[in-house]
Each structure stands twice: as structure tokens, then as C-alpha cells.
């Protein structure tokens, strides 16, 4: 029953000394605000990166047909791979080339993780383009100088093999995406143009790459089977080329450096930024134009497939499944001296990113923790001052029959109130800062209620912890001395 009285008393006390109360709370406010701010920005970053990675297919498994590696080619691979990132949009090496050898993988993803991101987005399709050059550019620059070892059709995987693989692992595989990045070019209308990159895809591509349709439909199996000249375009392209008219069923002309292709638009997908494309303005944005893979194969040198992506079903252990696939594929390529098909995934990269971000969060939280400690000491200091100031009041209370426990409770409650109000203000400030910070960095702010509850509880705990000593001091005051205190 004293609790309520004590709370009212403490609030009255704080009100009568507003400036001091605020300054006392400031330490707690800043501490809690920085914890909330850091955690919420960290959460926003992590979840945004995670969802980006997931939408880019972090759990996807990439299968590559590549040269059986020797260490000498790996180092060369790295060098030229980095060089090519400068001029080719497909800086795909991060993930794709990573498969070329174990050691190469590590170095490369470390060096150019940016390129790796981009790579997955544009789908690693470049290999198929025009035979030797395209393949070489992508899969190990090492081979650029050794065209003799470029994969021939016979080394690559056939559609039948891929279908068989899908059937064999039907329990684990959700879908398989095959794509080939074809030529880049422009789509022109009377008034404007849009940069595009033609990507030949199969039906599974939509599922694997999480493509969201805005209008119309994605490519269907019969588009692929019947080699129809149809295309799925981005909403960005639609707004540039078609304006407000309905694009479905319209023909578009794609101008490349040496040819013009005509496609009928069957669907519009929602363009997603890949996180690293902030610098690209809408004007010269290059978006993907999806056509049936069989259409793009018409102009390709290789009729078979060098790479494809597998999306595992939910709940499948990606790491174990990758190992299983590797075994299956190495059996398939057992007789090939020069080439092998390797399965790899991005899990490890995702993990290291998360770990890094957690470490950063932890470090900043540690600093925030120190500021909370300092704030707590500030509270203790003021509580001690308050006890001294109110010595006479304490004496009076004791003379009127207050037990030591009553006095102790009164001061602990007061300290808790200071810290709790500070904590609440800190949470609000932290949420504000977190939202602003996340916005500034282009992330969506998500604060889990758990963090708020923990901070709130923690600030109360600070109140108890740093209020205890002053309260104990107050409770132990000798009533006679206290009553006489001037």
C-alpha cells in the first residue's frame, strides 16, 4: 500500500525540482536511447540485408559447370575477374566464380562481395552469351587466356539432365531456374527509351528469383516449349515506354548493337532495387527483360546449360543438400577429365554478414551500456544528495513511526521512478533516432517489442541498483541526528 503513496510522493518530488530531475534522467535517457537506436538500426540493417539476400536467393544453390581447377588458374582467375568487374555489368564473380575452386571462392567473395550481390541479381546468365568470351568472362577469367579449355556443349548439362536431377530430388527441390543473360539493348518509344538486359529464363525462374507480377502473367511452359517471342518487362520500363496505356499484348522492339528483336509483352513485374544500386538514377536504369530461354538459345553458341539455380523447399537443410547435390553431380561428371559440375550456396556468406553486423551491434551496445552505467551513477549521486537534503524529513518520518524498510522503500521507489521515466523518454527518443537513422540509410525500421521491454526492465533495474545504496543510507539514519540536522 505504500507503493502508491511512494510513487505519488516521488513524482511530486520530481516535479518540484524539474531541472534537476531532467538532468538526472539525461544519462538514462541517452543510454537507453542509444541502445534502442543502435539495436533498431542494427535490426533494420540485418533484416533488410537478410531479406535482400533471401530475395536474391541466399538459400538458393547454384550449379556450375566449370573447369576442374588447378591452383595456378585460381590466382589468375582472381586478378582478371576483378579487372572485368570494371566494365561488365555482370560482376557476377562473387558467387559464380566462387565456385571455380575452394580457395578462389573465399578470396573472391572477400574481395568483391559487392559484385557478388549484383551477380546474383543479374542471374549469372552471362556465361551463355556468346560462347567462349561470355563463358570466359564469367567463370574464371583464368580461362580467358586459355580458350582451348572452354566448355563445349558436350561438357555442359542438357535440359534432360537437369530435368532428371529435378525428378531425383523432387522432395528437396522447389524449383529450378535456368537463365541466360542475352544481349543488352534499348527499348524505344517515340519519346523515350529504356535500357534493358534481355534474360532468357525458364518457368522456374520466377519462383527462384521471387519475381512479383504486377500485371499479366510470367512466362509459361508453352512459351518456352513453343519458342514464342514473348517478354515480361519491368514496371519501370512500362512507365517509360507505355506511360499510362496498357502494355499487355503490345509489341516492343529491342534494339541491340547489331539486331532488332520484337517481343509481345505478356506481363509486368515489380522492379526491386538490389540495395547496391542506389547510385543508379531512374533515367539510365537497366532493367531485365525476361524472354523464354529457348528464344535466347536461338542465338547462343552453346545449346546446353552451364549454370542453373536450384531453390530448395522450405525446411530443407541447404548445406546438407548442397553436399548431396555435389556428390550426385560429381558422379554425373565422373568421366569428364576437364570439367565438373559444382553446387554452391550463399549461406556461409550470409552468416558471416550477420555475424559481422551482430558484432558491430554488440560493440555499440557495449558503449551504450557504459553510458547507462554513467547515467546510473548520476542517479545514485543525485539520490545521495536528495537523501542529505531530506535528512530532516527522514528524521520526522522516523519519529512518526516509519520503519527503516519504509524509508528504504521510499527512496528506492523514487530512484526507480526517475530511471523509469528516463527509460520511457529514452525509448521514445531511441525509436525516433532509430527510425530516422534507418530511413537515412534506406532501411525499414523494425523494433521488436522485446527490445523495448528489456530496456524498460533494465532501466527499472538501474533504478533499483543505483537507488539501493542511497536508500540504505537514508534508512540507517539515526532519527535523533536526522531531526537535529540543519
Amino acid at each position: 500500500m505504500f507503493i502508491k503513496e511512494n510513487i505519488l510522493l516521488a513524482i511530486a518530488g520530481l516535479k518540484s525540482n524539474k531541472m534537476r530531475s531532467l538532468l538526472t534522467m539525461l544519462g538514462i535517457i541517452i543510454g537507453i536511447a542509444s541502445v534502442i537506436g543502435v539495436v533498431s538500426v542494427g535490426n533494420a540493417m540485418t533484416s533488410s540485408v537478410n531479406s535482400q539476400m533471401a530475395s536474391m536467393g541466399a538459400t538458393n544453390i547454384t550449379v556450375n559447370v566449370q573447369e576442374k581447377s588447378a591452383t595456378s588458374t585460381t590466382s589468375k582467375n582472381n586478378t582478371s575477374g576483378n579487372n572485368s568487374s570494371g566494365n561488365s555489368q555482370g560482376g557476377n564473380k562473387g558467387t559464380q566464380a566462387g565456385g571455380s575452386s575452394q580457395s578462389g571462392n573465399k578470396t573472391q567473395s572477400g574481395v568483391s562481395s559487392q559484385g557478388g550481390n549484383k551477380g546474383t541479381q543479374s542471374g549469372g546468365g552471362i556465361p551463355g552469351i556468346g560462347g567462349p568470351t561470355g563463358g570466359g568472362r564469367d567463370f574464371g577469367g583464368g580461362r580467358q587466356g586459355k580458350s582451348s579449355s572452354t566448355a563445349k556443349d558436350i561438357d555442359l548439362m542438357t535440359m534432360n539432365q537437369i530435368n532428371t536431377l529435378q525428378e531425383n530430388f523432387s522432395d528437396e527441390i522447389s524449383s529450378i531456374s535456368i537463365n541466360e543473360s542475352d544481349v543488352s539493348g534499348k527499348v524505344k518509344s517515340e519519346t523515350s527509351f529504356a535500357n534493358i538486359n534481355t534474360v532468357g529464363t525458364n518457368v522456374g525462374y520466377q519462383d527462384v528469383k521471387n519475381i512479383e507480377m504486377q500485371e499479366g502473367r510470367y512466362l509459361a511452359q508453352n512459351d518456352v516449349d513453343e519458342v514464342k517471342n514473348v517478354a515480361v518487362v519491368s514496371d519501370k520500363l512500362v512507365s517509360k515506354i507505355f506511360g499510362n496505356t496498357d502494355p499487355i499484348g503490345q509489341d516492343i522492339k529491342v534494339y541491340t548493337s547489331n539486331a532488332i528483336f520484337t517481343y509481345t509483352v505478356v506481363g509486368v513485374y515489380t522492379y526491386k532495387t538490389s540495395g547496391n544500386s542506389r547510385t543508379t538514377s531512374d533515367d539510365n536504369l537497366t532493367t531485365d527483360l525476361y524472354v523464354p530461354i529457348t528464344v535466347s538459345k536461338k542465338t547462343a553458341t552453346n545449346k546446353n546449360y552451364q549454370t542453373f539455380t536450384i531453390k530448395p523447399k522450405d525446411g530443407v537443410d541447404v548445406q546438407a543438400f548442397t553436399t548431396e547435390l555435389s556428390t550426385y553431380l560429381s558422379n554425373l561428371y565422373a568421366k569428364n577429365d576437364k570439367f565438373e559440375a559444382a553446387a554452391s550456396n550463399m549461406e556461409s556468406m550470409l552468416e558471416s554478414r550477420t555475424t559481422m553486423m551482430n558484432t558491430v551491434s554488440l560493440a555499440i551496445s557495449g558503449i551504450a551500456g557504459i553510458s547507462l552505467l554513467v547515467g546510473g551513477i548520476g542517479v545514485m549521486n543525485i539520490m545521495l544528495v536528495s537523501v542529505t537534503e531530506r535528512t530532516r524529513e527522514i528524521g520526522t518520518r522516523k519519529a512518526l513511526g516509519a520503519k527503516s524498510s519504509h524509508i528504504k522503500m521510499q527512496f528506492i521507489v523514487e530512484s526507480i521512478i526517475i530511471c523509469t521515466i528516463g527509460g520511457i523518454l529514452g525509448i521514445l527518443l531511441g525509436l525516433g533516432l532509430g527510425t530516422m537513422g534507418a530511413k537515412a540509410m534506406g532501411f525499414v525500421n523494425t523494433v521488436s517489442p522485446l527490445v523495448i521491454i528489456i530496456s524498460f526492465t533494465f532501466s527499472m533495474f538501474i533504478g533499483v541498483f543505483f537507488g539501493y545504496y542511497p536508500a540504505k543510507k537514508a534508512a540507517e539514519l539515526d532519527p535523533i541526528e536526522a531531526l537535529r540536522y540543519e
Binding site: M1, F2, E5, L9, A12, G13, S16, R392, E393, G395, T396, R397, K398, A399, L400, G401, A402, K403, S404, H406, P479, I480, L483
Partner: protein
């Protein structure tokens, strides 16, 4: 025996015990106060008056001797026990009022009942009753810094009475007041004594105030040098009776 509120036998209070500068403040005090008495303890400063008051008020324990307050043996109980004794059996009135700052008069009067463990409704009712008695009901929501000295002391007297204590222990209650206000406060004590039948112990160095009480205990150097029934008191009382009649 049963109507003895205070029984003190050979109370000794020493400080710095066992050291060369051991100080004996009270050197064997025997006091008996009967129920309903209005007693004053006088003495110059340094006579041990305050120390005696602290012991009577259960704020301190004697070094030796026996003190029974309304049937409770004070030197046998714990610190928490002393708190309870102060809460239930003693009503303090201080020279400096000692009202809790930033608490209304009502809250101040309610405070001893809060420590007593009374419920809110009863507290409020009883506090209002007593503020009425001391004539402060219309000021009950005022804070101490909005009250005059005399008003503060009246609130303090209401607070002292609120748990219906065995004794009212008043330490120089008029010391900080001008004579007119002091008169009013003393009249209030007489009213409480006569109408409520309260036992009052008044500690003062002022002989004029002591003259208004029934019995005067004089202290010097830690000893009681005289205990005298006060003729003047009875005269005053009779005069008042006449007036009343």
C-alpha cells in the same frame, strides 16, 4: 499502577562509554507520569532535557534503567518495535514543526496513519476530524510553505494526535512563534488536555510555559532537582471553570 503512562526508574544515559571522555548526560532519572496529566520538564540547555526527551519519545534507548511506556517495556524491544511505539503511543510536536515539505496539511496528518497501516478512507476521515479540531480544516490542502508558523504548529499537533497516542511529547512547541501565536498553541494544548483527556509532556526552558502545567519537573546536570505540583495551574483551571460556569 495501571494508570501510570510513563514509569522511569534510574535512567542513565552515557556517551563515549569506556573511553576517557565518557559523558554521563542522565545520571539516574526517576519519573512517573499518570494518565491525563499535563507535565512539563524544564531545564537550561545542557541539563539533559533533550536526551531525556529522546528517551521518553522512544527515539533513543537508555544506557541503563527501566522505562515502561503505557505497559510497554521500551528497553526490551527491537528497532522496528521502537518505530511502532513512536507510531502508536507517542505524538511528537517539534519546535520547528517538521512538516513534510511538498505534502499538503492533509497528507501530513495522514502520514502516521499510513505507517500504522490504516486504509485510505479511514485515514482521510480521521485526518479531517483532527484538522477540524485544531481549526485547520479549511487549509487542509495547503502545503507547509503556504502556512504561517502557528498554522504549521496546529497541523503538527493534529498529526501528533492522529493515532490516538498515549502521550503527546511537545518539544518547545512555541519556541519559534511570537507570543500571540504561542498563546494560541498553548491554548490548543490545554484544550486537548482538558477536552480529550490527553497526557501531555511539555519540554521547555521557559518557566512561564511550565507554569501553565500541572506538574513541573526541573532538570539540572542530568539529575532531577525538583518535582513540584503547580498551584498556578489549578488556579488557572478553576478560573477557567468559573468563566465556563
Amino acid at each position: 499502577m495501571s494508570n501510570n503512562i510513563i514509569e522511569m526508574k534510574n535512567i542513565i544515559k552515557s556517551f563515549y562509554i569506556g573511553t576517557p571522555n565518557e559523558l554521563n548526560i542522565l545520571k539516574g532519572i526517576d519519573i512517573t507520569v499518570k494518565e491525563g496529566e499535563f507535565v512539563s520538564i524544564i531545564g537550561t540547555s545542557g541539563s539533559g532535557k533533550s536526551t531525556l526527551m529522546n528517551i521518553i519519545g522512544a527515539l533513543d534507548r537508555p544506557t541503563s534503567g527501566k522505562y515502561v511506556l503505557d505497559g510497554t517495556n521500551i528497553d526490551e524491544i527491537s528497532d522496528n518495535g521502537l518505530s511502532e511505539v513512536r507510531n502508536k503511543q507517542i505524538g511528537f510536536v517539534f519546535q520547528t514543526y517538521n512538516l513534510i515539505p511538498r505534502s499538503s496539511a492533509l497528507k501530513n496528518v495522514e502520514l502516521p496513519m499510513l505507517y500504522y497501516g490504516m486504509n485510505k478512507k479511514d485515514r482521510r476521515q480521521r485526518a479531517e476530524e483532527l484538522l477540524e479540531l485544531v481549526g485547520m480544516k479549511d487549509r487542509m490542502s495547503h502545503q507547509p510553505n503556504e502556512l504561517s508558523g502557528g498554522q504549521k504548529q496546529r497541523v503538527a499537533i493534529a498529526r501528533a494526535l492522529v493515532n490516538d497516542p498515549s502521550i503527546i511529547l511537545a518539544d518547545e512547541p512555541t519556541g519559534a512563534l511570537d507570543s500571540a501565536t504561542g498563546r494560541m498553541v498553548m491554548d490548543l494544548f490545554h484544550k486537548i488536555h482538558e477536552e480529550e483527556g490527553k497526557t501531555i509532556v511539555l519540554i521547555t526552558h521557559n518557566n512561564e510555559l511550565a507554569d501553565e502545567t500541572q506538574r513541573i519537573i526541573t532538570l539540572r546536570d542530568g539529575n532531577i532537582i525538583s518535582v513540584a505540583d503547580n498551584e498556578k495551574y489549578y488556579r488557572r483551571f478553576r478560573e477557567e471553570e468559573k468563566i465556563c460556569l
